[in-house]
Amino acid sequence: MATETPLAEHIVLVGVNHTTAPVEIREKIALATGYDQPLPALRQLPGCRECFFLSTCNRVEALIVGAGGNEAAQALAAFFFGNELTESYANFLYRYEEAAAVSHLFTVASSLDSMIIGETQILGQLKAAYRQAAEAGCTGAVLNRLLPKSFTVAKRVRSETGIGLSAVSISYAAVELAKKIFGSLQGKNVLLIGAGEMAELAMEHLLNQKIAAVTVVNRTLARAEALAERFHGQAVAWPELLARIETADIVISSTGATGLILRKEDVIPIMRRRRNRPLFFIDIAVPRDLDPALNELANTYLYDIDDLGGIVDVNRGEREKEAVKARRIVAEETEKFMRWRRSLALNPTILQLRRHIEDISARELAKTTARMPGLSEADYAALERMLAAVAGKILHAPLQYLKQGDAAPEQENKVDVIRRVFGFDDEEPVS
């Protein structure tokens, strides 16, 4: 058995998300090929015992349990950016260890780190990623506890705080507004610009409104096709954007573009060709995709995320309060998980102690029986039982001592005391 002294293995999380890296950077690492390639690559990193990989439109993260330290960090950064690794690229990465890594994972799972705080899709994506990692045999004792735990934390946050309300309401508010503009949404055409999870989220309530057709336009056509398939819609290439706006009624934009993709001047001729049929723009991208001046055009209505959020009576202060509550839950659960981690660090000491005594017993038994050739099997067994009983009696008190009380510093002290009393750290551990 390998040495499992406390802190011999680290939980390390490295990643980029929508706030740390622009979409061009994320696209470079968001491996469209899925999980088949990155998981084995992670596995082969030096010192990696367990690994997990998550890739969504808004984030790419790798979670590793293994040897910590700078070397591992370098290897992980290289994993993300390959040969293109430069100083500037490394700046896009964030890196968390141990409690910070656990807390970050719980925050992500609870959708507190999402573009639309409180959206539920991230949980499904996490679960799928976990399934991939587990099937590939990449998870072990730590991740098999940590990831399922993150799902329950997310559920707890959802049920104990109102954080989910604002996300659900964005789609709902979009439908309510659309109804005030168009009356019925039956037969209306919806155009999605950008094929991310945000687009899917916004569609949630619209899909029940008997809309005529959904068209998805995206810079990467393959992604557009994937999303369009879900809505039985049509995917079109980026250059067709303006032509598609002409036939649409509701346009939902959620690209990760850093600048505006549609300006007032682009829409003026379109409105003329549409003979002023109303056009409802919903901009859920951060930063914005659509020119705010679109709202000034006649028969054109533009709403961004904040406008939509403002409709439902969850005001900003209320949302902040809920977020604080959610973060408290995350902190609480992180603390609980880390306590479990420490108890895991305690286990090797218990194991080592038991083995130490067992080893002495076995060695002494062998020495003694070697000088007793006429020993019957029954006598041998009796001797063995006696030694086991002695070992058990000797171990009883120290084990009780180790297992009692779970306050963190006290426990680490106890482990330390036992290790010193039995001289575990002076010699090569018994294997």
Binding site: K180, G183, N276, P278
Partner: protein
């Protein structure tokens, strides 16, 4: 008989005012029971207005469009029935509240004019005159509905554009419904107005021997006709709709009211083509 007629007018006024009050209460409270009551009251008001006009007709022997009072009552009655027929085809949320208020205001205006029966001068005894006045007023009634819809559109559009959702957002219908209302009223109103102008021209030829004079009434009716023609044309060619159509409906109605004051009750007296 005349006394009875006056009593009938009091009843019209009372029921119509009550209708407006109940519609207003419904608008504020949004209680569907109130709406049901308001709808029935509106029907009763419409029937009473018809009875009143018929009563005056049976006394005068001509279609009662000979003085300001009668003209405004006819206008109110036409608006009521235009609304009732419209409601039968389209549903526009809380439209009744606005229309009932307008009808009530028109009837109050009618009550402010002398209600006495005056035998009409012979020049007004032509059949073309009631045809002309009736058609024109019916056209105006549809334009007045477009006016109410236009006001509602502007209120609702403002909330949608400024993204501040206040009192009206939930109480007013969708922009699309209001725009359809505008288009519907515009089309019907324009046809009626055209027929009204043609019949007016025929009446002129009968009385004065010419089809057209460039008097102020003729000019103002041509102006109104051109305003609505422009709206109709722009709507069906380049798609004038929404806010612009709503503003035009309001402006058109304002000009109609001005003209009506000029024609029906000019500041100097006389009125109704009496000069």
């Amino acid at each position: 008989m005349e006394r009875m007629t006056y009593l009938l007018f009091d009843a019209v006024l009372a029921v119509t005012l009550l209708t407006a009050v109940v519609y207003l209460a419904f608008f504020i409270r949004q209680n569907s029971g109130l709406r049901h009551v308001a709808r029935i009251l509106m029907m009763v008001s419409g029937v009473l207005q018809l009875l009143y006009i018929f009563a005056r007709f049976s006394i005068l022997g001509v279609i009662p469009l000979t003085n300001p009072h009668e003209a405004v009552v006819f206008f109110a009655c036409a608006t009521t029935w235009a609304y009732l027929t419209f409601r039968w085809r389209y549903k526009v949320k809380n439209f009744g509240a606005f229309v009932s208020l307008l009808v009530a205001l028109l009837l109050l205006l009618a009550a402010s004019f002398p209600t006495a029966f005056a035998p009409p001068p012979p020049v007004l005894r032509s059949l073309w005159l009631p045809a002309h006045a009736g058609l024109s007023l019916a056209a105006y009634s549809f334009f007045s509905l477009a006016f109410c819809g236009g006001l509602m559109y502007l209120l609702q559009e403002r909330e949608l554009k400024t993204k501040r959702f206040g009192y009206f957002f939930s109480r007013l219908p969708s922009l699309d419904a209001l725009d359809q209302l505008n288009s519907h009223c515009l089309a019907i109103g324009f046809i009626l107005l055209t027929m009204g102008i043609i019949s007016g021209s025929l009446w002129l030829s009968q009385v004065y021997g010419v089809y057209w004079r460039w008097g102020e009434k003729e000019v103002s009716s041509v102006v109104i006709w051109l305003i609505y023609l422009l709206q109709l044309h722009q709507r069906f060619t380049v798609g004038w709709r929404g806010k612009r159509a709503a503003v035009m409906a309001v402006i058109g109605f304002a000009i109609i009211v001005l003209t009506l004051v000029l024609v029906v009750a000019p500041p100097g007296g006389a009125g109704i083509h009496g000069n």
